[in-house]
């Protein structure tokens, strides 16, 4: 596709429910990143994938958060038993490879509201 695609663009869910957020990276990009953007918190790194493997999961805020990537392409971020503090914009990004020299391209984000 032309850019990083994320769905849903908006999600309202009840506290305690599980949610899945999807990211479709730019074709050919092997590196994929998830960030969380909260008011006043800036951009918080969650996890990155190189191919299908996730060498760095250090940013996941709790064990309620998990992510997977299959076929070196689409990734899903799952939040179990959502809490109100999970409300944020979840941004996905991709780059040609996990290398500081490559530009990272962002999706438009999935706005999650937990009520």
């Amino acid at each position: 596709g032309a850019g990083v695609s994320q769905s849903p663009s908006n999600k309202v869910t009840e506290k305690g429910k599980d949610v899945e957020l999807r990211c479709d990276p730019i074709s050919g990009h092997t590196a994929l990143y998830w960030y969380r953007q909260s008011l006043g918190q800036g951009l918080e790194f969650l996890i990155y994938f190189q191919g299908n493997s996730a060498p760095d999961k250090s940013g996941l805020p709790s064990d309620r958060f998990s992510a997977e990537r299959t076929g070196g392409s689409v990734s899903t971020l799952t939040i179990q038993r959502t809490q109100q503090e999970d409300s944020a914009v979840y941004l996905c990004a991709s780059s040609l490879a996990h290398n500081g020299g490559n530009t990272i391209y962002f999706g438009e984000g999935s706005w999650l509201t937990v009520v």
Binding site: G3, V4, Y33, G42, F45, Y48, A93, H98, G100, G107
Partner: protein
Amino acid sequence: AQRVTQPEKLLSVFKGAPVELKCNYSYSGSPELFWYVQYSRQRLQLLLRHISRESIKGFTADLNKGETSFHLKKPFAQEEDSAMYYCALTTGANNLFFGTGTRLTVIP
């Protein structure tokens, strides 16, 4: 550990005035630094990177290793510069670490 600090959450300047968005970093090695920008209702995008030494949309940023700073500057602000600006750092082998961002408002 690496860290990026943007001390100003909000910055307002008048059109035509100079603007400087501050960014300081901490990292013991040689980082690569970036500025990303998010205009209203648009996705986050790369503005410039220090290794390119280029000027984008009139903005420049110089890496000052002595002061560990990478401030973003523009001599004459325009209304279309109003946006959220993020300073970011990568150590090459690691991920892109972002500051908390500065919202710039250019007053007509």
